[in-house]
Symmetry: D2
Subunit: 498 residues, 4 copies
């Protein structure tokens, strides 16, 4: 038997990254609704790899398939899709921010109302979800999951309004926080984004049928047309008519205000080929690299991206600096779960499961590593050591976003603030020493804003949500205030596997 | 490839039997709560083979494991039991009467209340369950399952009472039908039987800790002491005190009345070694055979039970008649699911998967087959043919209960009334011809009553529930009246596997 | 967590029983070959529950499905049978006598010869198998399994004969021990029994197509006709002709001698409805009970079989003695694998998982338990205690075969001789005290012979194989002599799961 | 239900790529042998994704775990590694070139010899394997698999030599073709490469213990030291001594000759961070791009690699041409198995599951696509169309190796020659038209040789194996001559799943 059984996670790099919670996809009135939804979710897989679910409606009944694992693990099975008949479908991929990785929490969630069933898929986080949950339980609601999405479902079920869209508005009026949400009823698809529009949601069309998806890449994969972004604070209701036509109506129940999209969609979450709020993600990232090269130039022999997040910025940095871009770090595409670590000390083995140094491009060279962001810095440390072991003469690190200093409460899984690198060390030089590089620079907030929208941050009225850098939270955080109370209540919750 | 793929169910005999829906087992304050519950459920396995579930409470949290399949398939796994820590546990085995064999419906069901969690396990059927369910949905409740037990959970959650036992009484006050139910809260075990006491429930004790179980055999397997039956209409609350002692209180919220236990518990459901309402099931069945021999004597060479249900009655018949008892039909204990039927006509093959004729005990003999009951008669037909094929000179059939003519609505899965043998044929002789026997007799209702309680049926005030024989239903059947309406609503329900 | 995790095997009773290793079934030229083979194996399931395999031939290729578990677990699946096309099929069920319960050992085994493929299914044990195996390995053979059947396959493959039947005879000429074997080639089914005919094998017919099976019950289940027993030392070759007709030839390559079938087939292994070597197994067992009643009469109130093996003898004992037969012990049909034992001492819990006392038939009574055999006595002990706990006034044990004193080497899994009850205690009275009964008697060997064939044992030329009682082994035991050497070699064998 | 169920493989691009069959890894005398082997195989996963196996030896017994799927799917499980105790281990990853994807074929294969067990792991293909197999079967060998590795095992088992290393040499003397093979006995690790050294094999060291692996990346992942390549025609025997020390001996049983490594290791198979025969794979590929830019220059706006194979050449092309390198095609890392294709025509959907166009980098631009190789061209066609759909003004394709015109018989899975693009069309211009590009160029053979070794092809004595480009096969192809005969024999082979 192995003399020690320390396990090494091959997702170790991801462990020091931020995680988006969810991706959503819905389509109405299309003959291939479930298959298209499966394909759309596959394109959105980067937004959540823990579980995937699809609910369809076949003019009589709702059908649901929800599974732990990747979309391709289950929804590629013809038998699974055959269990999802009908012309409308709603899908969801999810990464859990809590330890509650159980099937009960997999979305879309469903409720039967007197007027018929309703399914909901949600991307974001309701910042008064636990508070609302307690009120509901006190009023006799039975909660099956720990998901804030179930709270929305209860609010819809308990609304005194008759029609589903009005119940839906009734429910979201009570919500605070970030949500891009799609609901499906017997004849309708209803999409909304919160007042700030923190999480993205796009409106597309295939064969004249409406689609809502978290990113444009989900439209591209099926050849659907991009119509426009769902606007912040907007509610779009698509209703399938008896003749197969679809009536689309839009409303702004809370009035209109300026959008404040989450910056991290550009920095890290969205796929590089997506266009978010009218801007190419790849181009924004490349421009972050260009601005970083301008902000913190240096003499070096080679620009090496930390795969895969750092690649567009590294190309930008290389082009702006004239220093050659090379794959000095190679990524292993066959990533399993965890490996048993052999007993003897093999430095940085965890990293090596996923990344390996390409010695000939590094040995004897002054290397500039480009990464998209640094959370705790634990992985950066190992990568730098691996690059030094491969014989680099100098190692410099350039990070394509500002220092992360604050927690997120809008659907990004962030570690405790005290574990963030930028909070563990007071000065840039201390961080540099910890990571073990010859120089370290972070892109400044104005450089980031400029890379994305061509303007500095408007400090009076910021164009984006950027609290993780600035502490400037765009909404109240009610649950946070009530946290002790709500925690107590949570302990009586039933734990159940799958 | 097999030229035909007709499948043959090895449970084919069971298919023509009646099915009990459930068995329950709960224990409070015992260090081995989950393991004992698993053992108790194993002893109650004959009451439900489709799924099994256990909920435990470890002084902080509730834990739940619910699985499709037999108790021994899952709850013998140390890892599964390790997920059920704590000193109180509630378990349930289930046979589904509907097609909805999904994990969501597996009991015990659980709800979080403001005052803490509650789990419920139920044996029986609520005859106004669908009606209550519609009212709940109209008032904003979200139902996850199609089980009537969830209705009870919602009634508890919505009760305006504060304490769990009062909420429980509040809920059951609204129920009609048959229910033997056990609920578990953070400190209590609450047991009740409906006003008529249609389904059994016994109260036992192990190491001074209270147990509730559907039958005494669940006490025997763990060496627990039988205390008494839970009475019809009684609510027993056992509360664990801080010092480990337990306070037991009993109440009769609807007053007291005479019990009317379901006769079929004696005829078919209960295990022969159980003592139900003070009477040995085996002895009752043997006396059914004795009374049958007296009622319908004949000359014959051998008494052959239809295994296993007919065995005790066959022994009684043999002893009363003096005709030797022999195993003329052998049962195959290795029963799988379904077999592909080869193409050529092999008569009675379905039966032969489970039963086979013991030719030497049958050939050239006058055979009396003893069966516990006949539902549709389809299996009897095949068994008789198999016995004739083995060379029987004469085949007589004696059935140890009366003709079944009416549907049950109290937790027994009965076919449509028009499919019952006794409704398909007008006369006993027509039935005899259909089954293909030389003579056919059913035990009369008075003989059955006498076998169980030593008295004829008191027609003014029957001692038992016997509607399947007599049409005398002990409660109103509200859902039945509302059936069309409720069916409509059911169609929008989400279907989901596992 | 359960405070102790001792596990209790629900097969605990079986653990103290003897096990037969195998059952075989083959059919040639029938359109439903695989489905019929699956059904036949289902009927033979009592001969081996660990694994099952079927090989079919579709005029071009051989196909194989081999699985751990019961026949009904896998071969009821239409997809599995669809993978076994063709008009000839050979099947096998197996109980492993060694710890090597791996898929590689599951039969039928297959080899490709220059003249085409051959599959073999074997019931018995080759007493010079390990010796032959070593010779083969020394001559460059690669053995994949630890099964003695593979040795036969190598002997066939290495035979210098050209035709498969001659190669087959070439191979079996080198074997010692017990074997009933069926081989299947592209056009033939070849069946043989060893010189003594220790294990049974019958020849049947369905729709004019030949079948070989371990017992007649496998013919009965599919409605096939019993033709005759394969004789000891006989080789029957059935060859499918181009026109669909079949030519059957019989030979006795080692000459003819008297059969010495294994007595335990009558005592315990064969199904009661089978006819073995012309004698009904059920009748033989019943007569064992009759002879036992004559040999060791007593005064008592009730005859109680130890289920299920003791039942026919108990009926015979009851009829001979006039003491009533009752089901004083009830068997739980839902037998899983193992249960966690709760911590407190619950006497005889292991037994109770499978058996339970039927108190009302036992309390205050003088009980005579009838069992088929006693191996180590450990289970008898627990059953007796359970019966005493249920209130028996006296408990007597009558065993329907002689004391077991010697190991078997012909396919029966026997414990080390020193663990046998009859070797652990010198006198009958010591055994009686150990088991805790008021009286104990074993059927004498002459009584057993008489029950089966109507004659005493012919000590000069015994009619049956009875070494476990008498030490009279019918063949040399070469491996036993070479055991140390062969054990050494065995240790280098590769262990691999399933 | 989806109206059509055409399935789309997300590995579709791979489908038009060549596949290497195997990777091997062995280590002797190390306490963490199995865990290190699992890690090494993980690094070699790109050489075979169908199955993985490890055999270990614990000084008494051999242990084996072989599974379908990725290394990370099974060998990351502590329970699996616990089943592989010992200080020596041999592992293998495999991609099947035939349809026989069954567990029986998963390596390492094992045989028990009189002198002890031996396990073999093999990368390559024996070109007289079927011929040898027939001879073996004619001489009584029983073959369990269709793998040519089993043939080697039989040759070892049948060798008249006594010692394992001599038996090994005896066996390989009879082989033709390509093989890099590692064998493990109770005390030894034996490594060899065929006379030409067609497949790579490196010799490394960790903590003083010898390791053999297909590529250096398997040494890097565990921090092992690269010692040297195993030479073509060399046999290295490492023997563990009683004191834990290891004696290493090298021999060249067939004499020495110049190496002729397979060019495709550089072009496509080996990981870019591996050093094969002293040359960095990444650098070689980048130089292919440089040479291609020199050979076929053009005016364009952007260089876009076809991920991932084309990336290093694209970087080289960009640097040599001065045209910017951009990620114009994005790869989806979450690749499952197959997806159901919706009914309506969505052009190039198969490709889009894995790749997507990054519109902003393509629209209105003159795009140069760089790919590593073209097999049938079917995927190139779809990628080009996807790039055109994204708005490219011009699309040019540059391929970093010559036209593939001949089949491989040395362990690369190639389609039938007539399906190769270079054989389907006569002229480069016809190919260009088929693929739909504005210009198409293949790197010439001399440019390829120069990129790898700095010299043109030596046509008298080529430095590498390059038959797929030139038809110049380095060994006789005996099986090919005997193909019809051997095919006939193959049809009687048993087919068995897993």
């Amino acid at each position: 038997m192995p003399s020690k059984t320390t396990s090494i996670n091959t997702f170790c790099l991801d462990e020091d990254n931020l995680h988006e919670e969810c991706g959503v996809f819905g389509i109405l009135g299309h003959d291939d609704a479930s298959a298209l939804t499966a394909l759309g979710l596959h394109a959105l897989q980067h937004r959540g790899q823990e579980s995937a679910g699809i609910v369809s409606f076949d003019k009589t009944q709702f059908h649901s398939e929800r599974h732990m694992g990747l979309v391709g693990d289950h929804f590629t099975n013809p038998e699974t899709l055959a269990k999802l008949p009908g012309t409308s479908a709603l899908g969801h991929v999810r990464y859990s921010t809590t330890g509650d990785t159980v099937l009960r929490n997999v979305q879309p969630l469903f409720a039967e109302l007197t007027v018929g069933g309703i399914a909901i898929a949600h991307n974001g986080n309701i910042t008064n979800g636990l508070t609302l949950r307690e009120e509901l339980i006190a009023n006799g609601a039975i909660c099956q999951s720990t998901s804030d999405t179930e709270v929305v479902l209860h609010l819809i079920a308990r609304s005194k309004q008759e029609k589903a869209p009005r119940r839906f508005v009734d429910a979201i009026t009570q919500l605070e926080g970030a949500y891009s949400m799609v609901a499906m009823t017997r004849s309708k698809l209803i999409a909304t984004r919160d007042k700030n529009g923190i999480r993205p949601l796009v409106y597309g069309e295939l064969d004249g049928k409406p689609i809502f998806a978290s990113e444009t890449c989900a439209l591209d994969i099926i050849g659907a047309k991009f119509v426009r972004d769902v606007k912040n604070g907007e509610v779009i209701v698509c209703e399938l008519q008896a003749d197969g036509s679809i009536i689309v109506t839009s409303s702004f129940p809370f009035g209109k205000k300026d959008e404040r999209l989450c910056l991290f969609e550009y920095v890290y979450f969205a796929r590089p080929d997506s266009v978010v709020s009218g801007r190419s993600v790849y181009t924004a990232r490349k421009r972050m690299g260009i601005n970083l090269a301008k902000q913190a130039p240096l003499e070096a022999d080679v620009i090496v991206p930390v795969p895969d997040g750092g690649t567009p910025a590294a190309i930008g940095f290389s082009q702006a600096s004239g220093i050659p871009f090379e794959y000095g770090i190679i990524r292993n595409h066959y990533v399993g779960r965890t490996f048993i670590e052999p007993s003897q000390q093999i430095r940085a083995l965890g990293v090596k499961l996923k990344l390996s140094a390409n010695r000939e491009q590094i040995e004897g060279k002054r290397v500039v590593l480009i990464d998209d962001s640094i959370v705790r810095g634990t992985t950066s440390l190992k990568i730098v050591q691996m690059v030094r072991d491969a014989g680099a003469k100098e190692v410099h690190l350039r990070v394509a976003c500002p220092m992360i200093k604050f927690s997120d409460y809008y659907g990004i899984d962030t570690p405790d603030p005290e574990k963030l690198l930028a909070n563990q060390y007071k000065t840039l030089d201390e961080m540099r020493q910890y990571i073990g590089v010859d120089s370290l620079e972070f892109l400044l907030i104005d450089g980031l804003y400029d890379a994305i929208c061509g303007h500095k941050r408007n400090n009076d009225k910021p164009q984006f949500t950027d609290h993780y850098f600035t502490g400037d939270y765009p909404t109240p955080l009610e649950d946070l205030k009530n946290l002790d109370k709500s925690k107590h209540n949570k302990t009586s919750l039933l734990k159940e596997a799958g």
